[in-house]
């Protein structure tokens, strides 16, 4: 029962995050974006996430926001300022702020979900929301072995740095990197074979599904959650949110 409750919590967090992502698309002015950012910051504070860490992580979204930058110059309207000799319109400024803000907010919402439940529980929540179990098993194994494969890559890189010739040529470096990637591919294949054998030796059935991969039947709580999500979506649509 407790396990089911924990699973339900992670499902609720993911469902709320998805609902949050959909709602963010409804924010149309910089003021609304500021309200959204304040709300997410307050939620993260209430969840006990140190603000400095949360905002430092949020900086990862900045390179994406740059893609909207040209709208500063191309949006029609009288120029209110100049940059590099090009006029910036008020509409363009507002649009860049809204798109960049939406991008940052979506990033923060997903980061909040990860901080609250952790990656493994989020993948379980994806399974409970109806994602095909074969795909969920792949995600689980990927997360489980990511650290090992990264360590393997680190060892290969150290070996390359200590033993490879120091030639500055682009082709040489590309070939060495290609060899490194191919070696990592081979080692991942070998590890996959070992994992397959280990799963078989532990009695895995045909298809080698992970033991917990069969989705649990939906209970009343899941249906209530789905109903609430749908109600929220219909309510938002009814209020003519600009999606």
């Amino acid at each position: 029962m407790a396990r089911r409750g924990a699973g339900l919590k992670s499902t609720a967090v993911l469902a709320c995050a998805i609902l949050g992502l959909l709602s963010i698309k409804g924010l149309r002015t910089p003021q609304e974006i500021v309200w959204g950012l304040s709300a997410v910051a307050a939620l993260s504070f209430l969840a006990g996430i140190p603000p400095l860490i949360f905002w430092r992580r949020s900086l990862l979204a900045l390179p994406f926001c740059l893609v909207a930058f040209p709208l500063l110059f191309t949006h029609p309207g009288p120029p209110v300022a100049e940059l590099f000799g090009w006029g910036i319109s008020a509409g363009g400024l507002s649009q860049v702020a809204v798109i960049g803000g939406q991008c940052l907010l979506c990033f923060q919402v997903m980061q909040l979900a990860v901080c609250l439940k952790g990656p493994y529980e989020l993948v379980e929540a994806v399974a409970r929301l109806g994602c095909p179990s074969r795909l969920v098993d792949v995600l689980r194994l990927c997360l489980r072995y990511l650290g090992l494969v990264m360590e393997e890559l680190g060892r290969l890189r150290r070996a390359r740095q200590s033993r490879a010739r120091k030639e500055p040529g682009l082709l040489f470096r590309a070939r060495v990197t290609g060899n490194l990637v191919a070696t990592l591919f081979l080692r991942s294949l070998e590890r996959a074979e070992r994992v397959e054998l280990a799963m078989k030796s532990r009695g895995a059935q045909r298809g080698l599904r992970l033991s917990s991969s069969s989705p649990s039947p939906w209970g009343v709580a899941e249906f209530v959650l789905l109903g609430l999500t749908l109600t929220g979506l219909v309510g938002a649509w009814w209020n003519d949110w600009p999606w």
Binding site: I99, L135, L141, R175, W243
Partner: protein
């Protein structure tokens, strides 16, 4: 700074545009999951570990002129080595985890990101590889072309999608992204070529043969891109009276890349060594 331009984040596209991406990606993903049943017992461990491999390989960066750096995507490489179905599953799993846990890309934009990287970069890249190799190109040249053209076409499609969404004007994004991503594509192509030629030397049994279905799927993706580029300019936020280059920029760039591809084919016909049969 890492160039993340091929990942469309949430917030950049409207819901109808995001939905269109999902409508394209979901059937392809379903077909990939069904087709990968051929390797039933190995499917989950193999896909899981290779998704972790792609994740790790994406941390490898190479410098791009202009003070930035690009990172390996690995879509063409994985699709060449595993075939289109497994390749698609692996790339989509990586994209899903990136969106869910690491904040690269987004859940709403996952449909378009899957189209860009799994279908265009992966499937189209693998078709380029098999097409060139069948016509006598060396493995290295074919793999390089797959990596490079896959990246170039991936960025082209990304530009078109962002223009349709009204986020990034085509007249700015197309030259900016195509220039940088073509340079990133050279790195991608070189690493793909290095990896494929190394595997061909050490484990030739891992280099798969061409499958006609996969080639057909690759041509279908190319046809979709062509049809997308032929849409009226208003769809991409351009005015109707603009010149041909501006009117059909996607088509012009695709045509240019096609000419490059033909040039590559001619070059390899001229300079390739005759095949020695045992």
């Amino acid at each position: 700074m890492i160039l993340l331009a091929l990942h469309i984040p949430d917030g950049f596209i409207s819901l109808p545009v995001a939905l269109a991406g999902w409508l394209l990606a979901l059937p392809a993903m379903a077909v990939a999951l069904i087709r990968s049943r051929d390797v039933e017992d190995r499917f989950i461990p193999l896909s899981g570990l290779l998704a972790a491999f792609v994740f790790a390989a994406q941390t490898l960066q190479f410098p791009v002129p202009g003070g930035t750096s690009g990172h390996l995507v690995g879509a063409a490489l994985v699709t060449i080595l595993l075939g289109p179905a497994m390749g698609m599953v692996v790339i989509c799993s990586v994209l899903f985890l990136e969106a869910l846990v690491f904040g690269t890309g987004g859940l709403l934009a996952l449909g378009w990101n899957s189209v860009n990287m799994a279908l265009v970069m992966g499937l189209l890249g693998s078709t380029v590889y098999h097409g060139l190799h069948r016509r006598g190109a060396s493995l290295t040249l074919a793999a390089f072309s797959a990596g490079w053209l896959g990246t170039a076409f991936g960025s082209l499609v990304t530009c078109l999608e962002l223009a349709v969404a009204g986020t990034s004007p085509l007249l700015f994004s197309l030259p900016a992204m195509m220039t940088t991503q073509s340079l990133v594509g050279v790195g991608e192509g070189l690493v793909t070529a290095g990896a494929v030629s190394y595997l061909a030397r050490t484990r030739p049994d891992l280099i798969p043969k061409e499958s006609s279905r996969a080639t057909a799927a690759g041509y279908f993706v190319a046809l979709l891109i062509l049809l997308g580029a032929l849409l009226p300019p208003e769809v991409y936020g351009l005015s109707a009276e603009q010149t041909l280059v501006r009117r059909y920029p996607g088509l012009v760039v695709a045509g240019g890349l096609g000419l490059v591809w033909v040039g590559l084919g001619l070059a390899l016909k001229l300079f390739s060594r005759p095949e020695v049969k045992p």
